[in-house]
Symmetry: C2
Subunit: 420 residues, 2 copies
């Protein structure tokens, strides 16, 4: 951020988030419990809860006996208030999820992206088609949507909804947010998968227990989402987390960023397949022009005990461990979470060797303070994108205009399954 000045409104929005996060964390909670858990004063909590009730975003569930005094109301998220959309746009697919306000899943729809589907207009059309499909499946009107969070690979300028650089598609400064908002006719909140999956962990994963953690995305690209002090850390221009482009080997392999020796060049999908090529140039596991199939074949072979595949995983774990040790030394996190589609394929095979490699490279004290684990949140990018839409919606609602007792008209969503 450029200036130190935060406004009273910022503080109000931050406190509103804090109260909401307690509702999402607990499902059903009293004002006193929110105050105890959030550090806000009881009076502030009562004000903020009153506001959320008046807006219709929260609702009272039941009153419990307070032991002689006035019965205490318990509060929960008003799931039926409106819908949120989370979209995970990756190099090879679009995955869209439709949520109620409690981030319970209502419907989902997906599209494959072929290598030629690389223009902004084509990607927009796929997202629009997936949204129509999901709305139909859920029996919902578009008017019930409060916002769509959209994760796009690469570097994103979120305030302006601009894709600054999407390396695999060669996009530079594409006003993707505007294009998509025009097509979907809903507010769009654009960010990248590192920020989305870390937001999902903050609200629904390790963030319920921990303040300082890194969410590592291993895919075609590689990066780290950083939650520091209980909040998503974005850096001064929203590009924090480019761990994939930190140096692992000075003057090492050429990386697609133009640099050399980057972490990504050794532990991203193309880097892992390069280890395989280095060991066995003619390996039958290498499927021409199909990285996903090659990775799957590698995982199956390793599962079956194939020595070349196991050696490739050892190579990968060694580089990954060295790169993670740098994160552990620099940031002293409580947890490092491995996520992304390469982790889905290889994570459980890699994890034991990665832990050993981190221990070999990291300082003893921060290593002992850090847990390394696989992501437990399902579809974290789409869920996190939906959560970014929730945050955007909450930040956008202004002063309370509805009177208490006259809540804003909810969108009457069908009952959703509970949030993951």
């Amino acid at each position: 951020m450029e200036a130190l000045v935060t406004t009273t409104r910022d503080v109000r929005v931050r406190n509103r988030f804090e109260v909401l996060r307690q509702l999402y964390r607990s499902g059903d909670v009293s004002r006193r419990e929110i105050a105890d858990a959030s550090g806000l004063s009881f009076a502030s909590v009562c004000n903020l809860v009153g506001e959320l009730l008046a807006l219709g975003v929260a609702r009272e569930t039941r009153f419990e006996d307070s032991g002689g005094g006035r019965p205490r109301g318990r509060v929960t998220v008003n799931a039926g208030y409106g819908a949120l959309v989370g979209v995970d746009i990756a190099e090879t697919y679009v995955q869209l999820q439709l949520f109620d306000l409690s981030l319970g899943l209502l419907a989902s729809a997906g599209r494959d992206l072929h290598p030629e589907d690389n223009t902004p207009a084509l990607v927009v059309s796929h997202v629009a088609a997936a949204l129509s499909e999901a709305l139909q499946a859920a029996g919902l009107e578009r008017a019930g949507i409060l916002g769509a969070g959209v994760s796009l690979p690469g570097q994103v300028q979120r305030e302006k909804g601009v894709s600054v650089f999407a390396p695999n598609w060669g996009w530079h400064d594409v006003a993707f947010g505007d294009l998509l908002a025009d097509a979907l006719e809903v507010p769009v909140y654009l960010d990248n998968p590192l920020k989305a999956s870390t937001t999902a962990e903050l609200w629904f994963g390790v963030g319920r227990q921990h303040q300082d953690f890194a969410v590592i995305t291993l895919g075609t690209g590689v990066g780290a989402g950083l939650a520091l002090g209980g909040s998503l850390y974005r850096g001064s221009s929203n590009s924090a987390g480019e761990w994939g482009h930190t140096r692992l080997v000075l003057d090492g392999r050429v990386c697609r960023c133009g640099g050399s020796g980057c972490v990504e060049a050794y532990v991203g999908a193309p880097g892992i397949l390069q280890h395989l090529r280095d060991r066995a140039p003619d390996s039958p596991l290498l499927r021409p022009d199909d990285q996903t199939a090659s990775l799957n074949a590698l995982a199956l072979a390793a599962d079956a005990g194939d020595p070349v595949a196991l050696a490739v995983l050892t190579d990968t774990a060694r580089y990954l461990g060295a790169g993670l040790a740098d994160l552990v030394n620099l940031l002293n996190p409580e947890v490092v979470i491995l996520s992304g589609w390469v982790t889905d394929r290889l994570g459980s095979l890699l994890l034991p060797e990665v832990r050993i490699a981190v221990g070999r490279h990291a300082l003893r004290r921060p290593f002992e303070a850090t847990r390394i684990q696989l992501c437990q949140v399902p579809e974290p990018v789409a869920l996190g994108a939906g959560t970014l839409a929730l945050e955007g919606f909450l930040a956008g609602i202004g002063a309370v205009t509805a009177r208490p007792g006259a809540p804003a008209d909810p969108a009457h969503l069908p009952t959703a399954r509970p949030a993951p």
Copy 2:
């Protein structure tokens, strides 16, 4: 931090800091200006200022015309309320500074530490002697001291005041804080130079303008203090910032941490002298067993255009730039500040080539968002240690017991020169 729960007291202390930082930043400020700059509500600011006035920590300076309404009082730090001590203990010296409550310098005293002065008891005796000398110079009683902040090299467990590991002295788990508090008879707040110099920058340096920055200490050891989102980032066990032990060269030079290829092994004082030894094993610039003299000779030779010395600086800038690029990519800071005694000697010679090297290794967008500069705060470790004592004192004062109008008895310090 282990738990997410912050207490109302934490919030109160944090808000008190916020108000105090406005006083230190502005010298003399109205309640309205504090509210505007801090984002706290006017009512909260009035409460907090009232508390600080009642405690005697702040005082009202003058009333200004508010244009018809009630005249507005301006508030400042009550410099004479009590004294603070900041101690910079390094491998080769002890530097102690005595401050008034506004962090204005009252007196300072130093001691050289010889290689044999490496027991905790000897270091304590040097600090105690320096404090007595400074108190005498300032004409102050020990009873006027509110606390002493002490920076010790290596890893520190601050809550318990324990030196977990001081590599150069071979200290492991030394309860140095208790030893020193017993000897000095004042509360001691122990931390390391990374945390101290970053605290100084937060209160008195780039922190006045920026939220996200890294303070690089280049000395015998190397590390980074991290200010993220306007606060010192400590990590889960106060060891965040071990940038000196992130990997620059996989399987590279052996580092004193036991690892290999660490940043410190290439840009710490011994690493820089190793570049010199690699290029000119018999260089007359190398003074046997005197690292400081060798560094000084290298700086003088480079200033005079000596080609070997210039080549060594180019080597150093290249490694330093690659290491800083990793920080820039990962944390996307607004500013990177170079500090520490090696920077004092070589910083202005290194800076132009370092900037070029960072630009070569970092991603374009975060690089363009980052300024790289030399530290402008004088004696940042001692000043930062004094500020840590201030923070400790402020966190420790409890509920207001003094009535407004009956301020706590100030220590009647002599007039200090303004804070740097």
